[in-house]
Point group: C2
Chain length 594, copies 2
Amino acid sequence: MVALLRFGALLFAVAACQAWHVDEANVPNLVDSPYGSLWPLPQKLQTSPVAFGLNSASFQIVHAEQSSAGPNCYLLQNAFRRYFEYMFGFTKSKGMYKRKVGSEVSELQVWITSSDPECDGFPSVTSDESYELTVDQPSAVLKAGKVWGALRGLETFSQLVYEDGYGARHINKTAIQDFPRFAHRGILLDSSRHFLPIKVILANLEAMAMNKYNVFHWHIVDDHSFPYMSPSFPDLSQKGSYHPYTHVYTPSDVKMVIEFARMRGIRVVSEFDTPGHTLSWGKGQMGLLTPCYAGDTPTGTFGPVNPILNATYEFMAQFFKEISEVFPDAYVHLGGDEVDFTCWKSNPDIKKFMDQQGFGQDYSKLESYYIQKILDIVAETNKGYMVWQEVFDNGVKLKPDTVVEVWIGYKMEEELQNVTAAGYTTILSAPWYLDYISYGQDWQKYYKIKPDTLVQVWKGNVQKYQKEMALVTAAGFQTLLSSPWYLNRISYGQDWQQIYKADPYDFDGTEEQKKRVVGGEACLWGEYVDATNLSPRLWPRASAVAERLWSDKSVTNIDDAYSRLVQHRCRMVQRGIPAEPLFVGYCDHEYKGL
Amino acid sequence: MVALLRFGALLFAVAACQAWHVDEANVPNLVDSPYGSLWPLPQKLQTSPVAFGLNSASFQIVHAEQSSAGPNCYLLQNAFRRYFEYMFGFTKSKGMYKRKVGSEVSELQVWITSSDPECDGFPSVTSDESYELTVDQPSAVLKAGKVWGALRGLETFSQLVYEDGYGARHINKTAIQDFPRFAHRGILLDSSRHFLPIKVILANLEAMAMNKYNVFHWHIVDDHSFPYMSPSFPDLSQKGSYHPYTHVYTPSDVKMVIEFARMRGIRVVSEFDTPGHTLSWGKGQMGLLTPCYAGDTPTGTFGPVNPILNATYEFMAQFFKEISEVFPDAYVHLGGDEVDFTCWKSNPDIKKFMDQQGFGQDYSKLESYYIQKILDIVAETNKGYMVWQEVFDNGVKLKPDTVVEVWIGYKMEEELQNVTAAGYTTILSAPWYLDYISYGQDWQKYYKIKPDTLVQVWKGNVQKYQKEMALVTAAGFQTLLSSPWYLNRISYGQDWQQIYKADPYDFDGTEEQKKRVVGGEACLWGEYVDATNLSPRLWPRASAVAERLWSDKSVTNIDDAYSRLVQHRCRMVQRGIPAEPLFVGYCDHEYKGL
């Protein structure tokens, strides 16, 4: 007992209240990174100590003479304005105050090398985002095959600019060759569980561009509300949204989001998840959902989409035809996850249909039957489709260009193996569910335990749990080790590290299989997220995913990453994004909002 | 090993997915609360279905004729303006549009009954916050002994006002007698780990008033930075803050915070925590901290305040004299927690001193020696003091009016017993560390696990884990119970429920002992909190603590609380506080910021 009390004493010394000692054990070291504040880290980089000045009064971003793009490439013109403002703010210092600096970079030439810069095009999974950036005097040169690479290079250039103590801006002699490791680098936002004002969505697109993300996966509708205003079926939002005027996205809103995203090289992939997650659809589309029964009598409640009616498929055909026209992206996400069979099982008509089809009691066959028809309908619109992994798991016949999204964490590796072995393209989101957040005290798990208690050790990093095992066993407890499997749950506020360590190649497979993993997504589901907390919940943790998906696989030094990310987070804050802090400290320009 | 691996698989299952079904299992039911949106719930309440109109063009908040307070009671004048704006906004509808409503409440008479309303006074732990509110036509009457009760009553009145579909405001016939269950209802903010701009502190004081909080515990300095600008010792912030101009609180800032708080009946209790948590003090006050040694040579690093030098106590005497003048509150918090003895043990002079004093190897004796002197110094200034529980645990001699703050969760009950048995006043913060947040999923943990797997049950409340154990064992799994030790950790985003269920009387003690528990505090430590995320991290979870500390002990119905809190949270959002959502849904007036 005395031993226990001592043990307790020892534990609370390491404990809650000002829990910073606990945290610090877990916090990386701030180092002087050779890569400054670059995030995500470019693929190839040569820097030099030679620094040049940048004069806001004279500095220009211009189209290179040889460039295939010019002033009428509005996408680039917008980007020039955006990055000039990031680097110099809105004021232009007066000529009279111009002071002679030594050697300086007086212009950034943007040179689009291919015959078609794609100024008016939409980004796609095959878009060329590579670029070469040479910073020297008197001119810096940014070479890219397409505008998409130029956008990435402009972000990089802006990240190379730094201020000295006098506020004078400098940039070092640098040569960069850069390209993304993965073609699909996405963020999922959920505008159904809570409505997200356009303003919040646009701010998030800004932040995505700062992190070289290129896909906005818009989980726009779900059980809880249907904010998408459909010209063909206005009742869907009229009756299915939280409010038919204030909580909907009009066609103009959607157009604006798509154009705002295009300007930043970001695809907008809309998700209309069926047959589950569709309760809100039923309010505006009578007969679409399956009536649930108690015995022989309808309960008045509804289940998934009713898969046995022609009317269902006529509706879906017309609906997805509209979607294929409203959203220019080559892909639409069809969901297909988490179908609850309870209601289908209760419905006598469905039972009859199951018999006719010879599905027996296997309702996943019915699910597949439905999904198959939806896929064919969407294929008709000449769109490719993305689906959640269950669709593949249930053995639905998929087009070769289908993208399967792997989200179930506990069997992630197995799933990546199977999907890629079957020859399908896949993206990974399992390790990156950023609506989950964990920052807790651990010491209470010893709260009044008897010495024969089995103590589970689950601290968040290897060094830590080894120390812990020693500590616990020394104190005479039995112990069970689970840390390695808790890694992406417990984090004392340092979640970003586990997020950062996860890799889409974390499975055994051939080179061919690995090639089929085209990227990943950070998902922010909306149960507990709305305009009040979205940005700090998502950023900078999503930045950790961004580097994993853009930079080389070998970029894994936590201290270096932490040191760059701290600066990158402050840069996002300075640009108006309320990205939350990574640990104690401050930014030169703190957040000014509330 | 195989079993362990399976266990691993099962734990991985805890890793990702649209976990909303789980959440819903955990989310209370929205009911039509008889108490509308009142938060915290008043002690005695009679409502009636009879509703009166409120006309913004004619409605007035006035001093009752018999009131001892009048127009020169600026505290009330400020409050009248504030609550008029909350209820009616800033616009005044034009007379021409005035429409005849039926019976209406045309004025709220505020009647201060005691001879001294305390308009220009400061609130204290003994301030009378009770009030009586009668809503009837043509006049509503708010009776209170002092302005402090009037402030609480005005908040309650504003919470009774509601709009109908036409936007017309109504208030029902109501009679309320109200008073706080606990006299000390505090929020701790930490402005050392991250600097909190004045704007953020003031917004938080606004939110506190909306929740009838009455103590702002300002943990103003700590190891990481010293933002308090001391006129007597300017070097402390000059050298110890993150930045000597942008990251400091000037005397004017402090005055403003104190007055802004006073206007809302909120005390400002400053904490200057010693002898630990003082690294930042050392930068501006040479010789204050203990030099650490490796063998015979100083390492150049420093430990806690050096307790063996007269200079230390001369400094502290002068410093706390200043603090006692700058902060009008009758109490100052002296900290005294988490003193790490390592550095003291390494220092030869301290070892010598220990021998001279006959302390042997017991460094807690040295700690007590130091604290004793500090307490005497502060007593000299005629202030009372608050301390963290270690000071009591170490047997330091305390003035009878000392307030001991209990923060260590695992021995909370025992500590409350001991402190109150010893006759000391205490406040509780252990269950309310709101910087901790946890949102993960649990449902997948049974997903495809082998029967011989060891399943750990860690659901977040007693009823739940008992059900869970039954479920798991029935399913033929072995199980390990850890819930009691996980209680305030796992919460699926529903942390507020555990926060709400904790009670300062959760210990065995006599009536006398219970009386000595004067309240509690919600603490928001700053490791991971700054202006970007403070408000949503704190609110509405701190509202759960607010009701526990104000309302009767019997107010524990989770469904009713949830239903009122959802509305209260939306009201805070409408008033400009980015309080985060409790679950899926929407507010009539969503947050407009970013």
